[in-house]
């Protein structure tokens, strides 16, 4: 079958083929990303071929100057995460027939990462985040003797296999909407690994970890866009791991932060009126006396007023709110 591949090219030395056409600048929040030039190739491959097959065919027989990282070709090594039609995927797992849109497949290094060359992204931010969560076991003392393992139930190990399945391809971070606007956000991969260690019964520093992950850039900076769950090629579902960390952190008493207050305010409002009181949500989240952070949101408030999205000043309960309260009572726990 004939496939048409449009490759986003980038060469820091400015060496481009004349067939490479300048692309449009990326829209915000990626408007600072280096502009690419797009070069179109045609390849003849079997119907079941994947995007990586096409890229290898191009680089081997059409254009040796195309730079792309790849190794295992079977979704194990994590090298070939890139944008395919505007979302992060492993090139080796993306079938060309599935990803052919309007007669072509477009691939490029994601604008959310610095680019080194062509499809080769600079993954430094990704690896720094991974390291920042202290991704190693701080073994519980006393360690068993050298010839004895920690005795733990298999279920506790199976609980972590989902996070250990992470191949560090970075697809989740590439498409993470919080990371796009907040480079300090630890991001889905690192936080999934954070859970992998915080959730390990052999780890001695669970509490310290949960405290650290509850700070700025941590678990509460995720906005639940679900991109990481959608894009992860290995089913790691980082968002689910972030939610597990939040539960553990709150249970461990790490509640003095905007994230927990936000969740509490949300729950309180729903409990009392059956719906969200958006006017009190912000002050309760950042703190009633934290005037500075409240003022920072003024531009957004004006935009909301202009767009007719400002919440009503008088907050009314929904009819039958008692039934909502009954639900809270039944669920119990923190929001009883």
């Amino acid at each position: 079958m004939q496939f048409t591949i449009e490759v986003g090219r980038y060469n820091p030395e400015g060496k481009y083929d004349e067939r490479a056409v300048a692309g449009k600048p990326y829209p915000p929040p990626w408007d600072k990303a280096a502009p690419r030039r797009y070069q179109t190739y045609t390849v003849d491959l079997p119907a079941h071929a994947v995007v990586l097959d096409a890229l290898i065919a191009i680089r081997e027989y059409q254009d040796e100057s195309l730079a792309v990282r790849c190794a295992c070709r079977s979704a194990i090594c994590g090298s070939c995460a890139m944008w395919v039609n505007g979302h992060a995927h492993l090139a080796c797992k993306s079938k060309l027939t599935t990803f052919t849109k309007d007669g072509k497949t477009r691939v490029e290094a994601p604008p959310s990462m610095p680019v080194i060359r062509d499809l080769v992204a600079d993954m430094t931010p990704f690896w720094e985040k991974h390291r920042a969560v202290k991704p190693w076991l701080e073994a519980k003392q006393p360690e068993p003797p050298p010839m004895e393992e920690y005795r733990v139930p298999n279920a506790a190990m199976e609980e972590l296999i989902q996070e250990v399945s992470c191949i560090s391809c970075g697809a989740c971070l590439m498409d993470c909407e919080s990371f796009a606007v907040n480079p300090d956000f630890l991001g889905p991969q690192a936080l999934a690994q954070a859970y992998r260690y915080a959730g390990d019964p052999r780890d001695a520093e669970t509490k310290e970890r949960l405290g650290a992950y509850s700070g700025p850039g941590g678990i509460w900076d995720c906005t639940h866009c679900y991109e990481c769950v959608t894009q992860c090629p290995k089913g790691v579902a980082p968002l689910e791991q972030i939610l597990k960390l939040r539960r553990l952190a709150v249970d461990a008493g790490f509640t003095n932060n905007a994230g927990t207050r936000h969740a509490d305010a949300f729950a309180d409002s729903v409990k009392h009126s059956g719906r969200l009181n958006e006017l009190t949500l912000l002050p309760r989240s950042v703190g009633f006396f934290n005037i500075l952070d409240q003022l920072k949101t003024l531009p957004s408030a004006f935009n909301m007023i202009r767009a007719g999205k400002f919440p009503p000043l008088i907050h009314k309960s929904i009819p039958g709110v008692q039934r909502i309260k009954n639900i809270f009572a039944r669920v119990g726990g923190r929001f009883k």
Binding site: E60, S65, A71, R73, N154, R202
Partner: protein
């Protein structure tokens, strides 16, 4: 730029990182040079597990015997003893580091069965054991603060006065060549699968470590012993873990028959890999294959076992042949998988070139001899990675830092500059590599004979002549992969040459070496290792080394 360290490790797979960690623990200033990020290393593709005689009723002697029998008695038994005695402590150490090994009902480490083993002694994490070990070890490297030069491609070892004192490497992201000096170098650069097409190996397994050590003067040993894995996926050649058969999967021919009963009536599908691969080739040759494949049947294992214990290969079969192992048998065939031979070392990892150590697939200790047992390769990497880290750290204490090497750096700069400046000749890395690798699979695969191997040698000489004219189709400085691919083809040609010459030399059938013109094992003449030594401008020199026998006398091998 010139950089100095005590110990320099080439390669960041399991062997390299384990070596670096040990050298760091011993107080050495250690760094790693690797052409890919450590997490991209091919160790992550090891699926099934890692062997150790740790369970009740199991003994290191039993593990050693299975390994030696599996090797067709070519393994050095003193080295096998080291590996099998130390295996339990090494596995437990990785458990303490955080590997989430499968547990039994008591919460203790649990096992699965594997080929060629008399006991179920394979410890595992689903079918991602290699990945689980690699990630854990990488995180330990981060914790220990070991310096890693990522995406630095080694072009030559630096040898001064007959000792290895570092290497020259190309920093991909800047295109600059650097001299990295060290008092000792540990070659842990991994396998050479790309010398064969198809292969289960990643595109990065290009034999760099073999060729670099060989050219520097360290002899290679047992290079004819190339393992074909019995279950590689039709078409792509991806690995379908032996864990499938360990969990009870069948091999079927076109008549739906479990044909292994005719070749290995006792162990059936869990015979050693060389035995299974030969049986499959025979079935296919006698007309009982299906489009050049046999079938791997997991259906009777049930969805629960498949999804919990074999999830990765289940997904790969879905992705790459569109078949669901729960409902369908999967077409598989033997495919090149592993090089038992390599840079000859002793049990401390020392090669015959002073200052150069080797560990992992690139090394030949020799613990695998003529045929490696499944789940012994991960073990090899961590046991002998540790030994080479420890031994090199001790070695460097008595060595003064080198002050030279600038001439080697300049020579490499000139060599690469010339290579880049060559006009287009039509000889490309891709064409040469594919011709080489297809030829190797044809003439140096599961079955070999003198005519085929002689033809291989003749074709190799043609390919080498053409390689002299190879041109690089990328003139950029930054991240020039065409340049490194061209250098890799040079490495692969050296590896192929050593493999073919060794295979031609061994006039018997033993382990992975099956000569149709010499179908029997011949202990009287060939119970010995073949070593091959590089000589500039001349044919390489072949020599022999005795096999160390401690307590297991060679006997007939059947499963």
């Amino acid at each position: 730029m010139t950089i100095d360290h005590d110990v320099l490790v080439l390669g960041a797979g399991l062997a390299g990182m384990r070596a670096a960690l040990e050298a760091a623990r011993e107080g050495a200033d250690v760094a790693i040079v690797t052409k890919v990020h450590p997490i991209r290393s091919h160790s992550s593709a090891a699926q099934g597990g890692i062997n150790a005689a740790l369970g009740e009723g199991d003994t290191w002697e039993s593990h050693a015997f299975d390994t030696i029998k599996g090797s067709d008695y070519l393994a050095d038994q003193d080295a096998v003893e080291v590996m099998c005695r130390e295996a339990p402590a090494d596995i437990v150490e990785f458990e303490h580091m955080g590997v989430i090994f499968y547990r039994n009902e008591d919460g203790k480490l649990g096992t699965r069965a594997f080929g060629g083993a008399s006991q179920a002694r394979t410890y595992f994490v689903g079918d991602i054991t290699g990945q689980a070990l690699l990630v854990t070890l990488y995180d330990q490297i981060l914790k220990a603060g070991v310096k890693v030069y990522e995406e630095w491609f080694a072009t030559t070892l630096y040898v001064e006065n007959g000792a290895c004192r570092g290497l020259v490497a190309l920093e991909m992201i800047t295109g600059e060549l650097h001299l990295v000096r060290a008092k000792a170098v540990i070659d842990a650069a991994g396998g050479l699968g790309r010398v064969f097409e198809p292969s289960t190996n990643a595109l990065i397994c290009t034999g760099d470590g073999y060729a670099l050590a060989y050219r520097a003067g360290a002899p290679l040993m047992d290079m004819e012993m190339v393992q074909y894995h019995p279950t590689t996926l039709a078409g792509s050649g991806f690995l379908m873990s032996e864990a499938a058969r360990g969990e009870g999967a069948y091999l079927l021919n076109s008549e739906g028959e479990r044909f292994m009963k005719r070749y290995a009536p006792n162990k059936m599908e869990l015979a050693a890999r060389d035995v299974c691969s030969r049986s499959e080739v025979t079935e296919i040759a006698e007309g009982r294959g299906i489009d050049g494949n046999v079938l791997l049947d997991c259906r009777h294992l049930g969805a629960d076992v498949i999804l919990k214990k074999l999830p990765q290969i289940h997904e790969m079969a879905l992705d790459y042949v569109g078949l669901d192992m729960i409902k369908d048998p999967i077409p598989v065939r033997p495919g090149m998988h592993y090089q038992m031979g390599g840079v000859k070392t002793d049990a401390s990892g020392a090669t015959r070139l002073p200052g150069l150590y080797a560990a992992g697939e690139v090394a030949c200790v020799s613990v695998h001899g003529g045929n490696r047992l499944g789940a012994n390769s991960l073990l090899d990497t961590i046991v002998f990675g540790r030994h080479s880290g420890k031994a090199s750290a001790a070695f460097v204490k008595g060595v003064a830092a080198s002050r030279g090497g600038e001439n080697v750096l300049q020579a490499e700069q000139a060599r690469l500059k010339e290579l880049l400046a060559r006009p287009y000749t039509g000889e490309t890395h891709a064409r040469l590599r594919l011709e080489l690798a297809t030829m190797m699979d044809k003439h140096c695969g599961v079955y070999r004979d003198e005519a085929g191997l002689t033809e291989a040698l003749r074709q190799l000489s043609g390919l080498k002549a053409r390689y002299e004219k190879i041109a690089v189709g990328d003139k950029s400085r930054i991240f020039n992969q065409a340049l490194t691919f061209a250098l890799e083809v040079g490495f692969m040609l050296d590896c192929a040459d050593a493999i073919v010459r060794s295979a031609l030399e061994r006039k018997e059938s033993r382990g992975a070496q099956s000569r149709t013109d010499y179908p029997e094992r011949n202990d009287a003449e060939w119970l010995k290792h073949i070593l091959i030594t590089y000589r500039t401008g001349k044919e390489p020199e072949l020599s022999y080394a005795p096999v160390t026998i401690t307590q297991w006398k060679p006997e007939a091998r059947s499963y």
